[in-house]
């Protein structure tokens, strides 16, 4: 038996709420990735094609 206290079993509503939070966090992180990408391209401007081939 573990010496650490076991987390309580979640109710159905708590599981639903946790899933909703996880989905929102996933969407937020996805939006952040897209935002960082677009802003990086905008900052680079014309230099985006300026690279050694």
């Amino acid at each position: 038996m573990s010496v650490y206290p076991q987390p309580p079993e979640l109710t159905e509503e708590e599981v639903q709420r946790r899933n909703a939070r996880s989905r929102a966090l996933g969407l937020f992180l996805g939006a952040l990735v897209i935002l960082f990408f677009i802003v990086t391209i905008a900052k680079l401007g014309g230099n985006v094609m300026n690279r050694p081939i």
Partner: protein
């Protein structure tokens, strides 16, 4: 039982007192922590600050800068709710906020607010400039530490001085474009700074019992309702020339001047109405009318300035 817990089924095992508390909030609760209505005002005024700045800004960088400023403002609102959760629980107006309602734990709100504060400042620094980022960081510090932790609980002038935090966004927006401040952006700061006391005190007059119960020394609690009415009237009269100043100093056009004069006179009239009506339901209605009009006032003035700035870019203007 917390308000959030009441949403649950009463027979749920979550009601077992022996059971450790489980994170309860929804995404909406976290959104509410950011004070979305205050964020709207911040976005609007910062946008005007940006558009009135000389020099071009890439629309994508401009949009992202605005987002960073809005998130920084939201983060300071979140930290305000974290610090004031105990007094929020004592007032009807704020008792349904996510922390006193039990939906979000104070520690979660603190972590959320700090993460967004640091993230928004770094993001603004990287995409716009570090002057604007430093100004945003100072604004968050001013609102959370100077206003929330110190002034709010200490002096009846809390919202007069603390109002500076809400007045900085147009200057931050301007700075995101130029890297510096100007007289025009300072005039917009001054406008919001002078507007804040009559706006908040109109609400505080109606809610003074709640503030007294929570031990917050708002002006109506400390100096009484009649002294507050006089202060509201004086600030509202002072707001007329302050509102007109950008046009009088050639930074804004005729449309802005007309709107600023018209709405300034209307606001001062409603402040006078509140000054006269001191008892009963009429006094309460006058306070709410002034509060509502003050919101409209700010949106009208900044809206007029926004229209003036965008007018040259409208299709029929470009055809000339």
């Amino acid at each position: 039982m917390t308000i959030a817990a009441e949403r649950l089924d009463q027979s749920s095992p979550a009601f077992d007192e022996e059971r450790p508390t489980i994170a309860f909030g929804t995404a909406r609760d976290y959104y509410e922590l950011l004070k979305p209505r205050v964020m709207q005002l911040v976005i609007f005024t910062a946008l005007v600050g940006m558009l009135t700045a000389p020099g071009p800004i890439n629309p994508i960088i401009g949009f992202a800068s605005l987002l960073a400023i809005a998130v920084g403002a939201g983060a300071s609102g979140c930290l305000n709710m974290w610090y004031d959760a105990s007094i929020d629980a004592l007032m009807d107006r704020t008792s349904k906020r996510p922390i006193p309602a039990g939906a979000v734990k104070p520690g979660e709100a603190l972590a959320f607010g700090m993460t967004l504060s640091i993230g928004s400042v770094l993001f603004l620094g990287l995409i716009a400039n570090w002057q604007a980022a430093a100004f945003l960081a100072f604004t968050i510090f001013f609102y959370v530490v100077v206003y929330t932790m110190w002034l709010k609980h200490w002096t009846a002038q809390n919202i007069v001085i603390g109002g500076a935090a809400g007045a900085f966004p147009p200057m931050i927006g301007y700075m995101a474009v130029t890297g510096s401040v100007s007289l025009e952006s300072f005039l917009y700061f001054l406008l919001i700074f002078v507007w804040t006391p009559p706006h908040f005190w109109a609400l505080a007059l109606v809610k003074s019992n709640e503030y007294a119960r929570a031990g917050v020394p708002m002006l109506p609690v400390v100096a009484g309702p009649n002294a507050t009415r006089l202060q509201i009237l004086l600030y509202s009269i002072a707001l007329i020339p302050v509102g007109m100043a950008p046009a009088l100093m050639s930074h804004a056009g005729l449309l802005y001047l007309v709107v600023a004069t018209g709405f300034g006179v209307v606001l001062a009239y409603y402040a006078y109405d509140l000054f006269r009506k001191r008892e009963g339901d009429e006094a309460r209605k006058a306070a709410f009318r002034l509060f509502g009009t003050s919101i409209l006032y700010l949106f009208a003035l900044f809206g007029a300035r926004l229209v003036e700035q965008l007018l040259p870019f409208l299709p029929w203007s470009l055809m000339k």
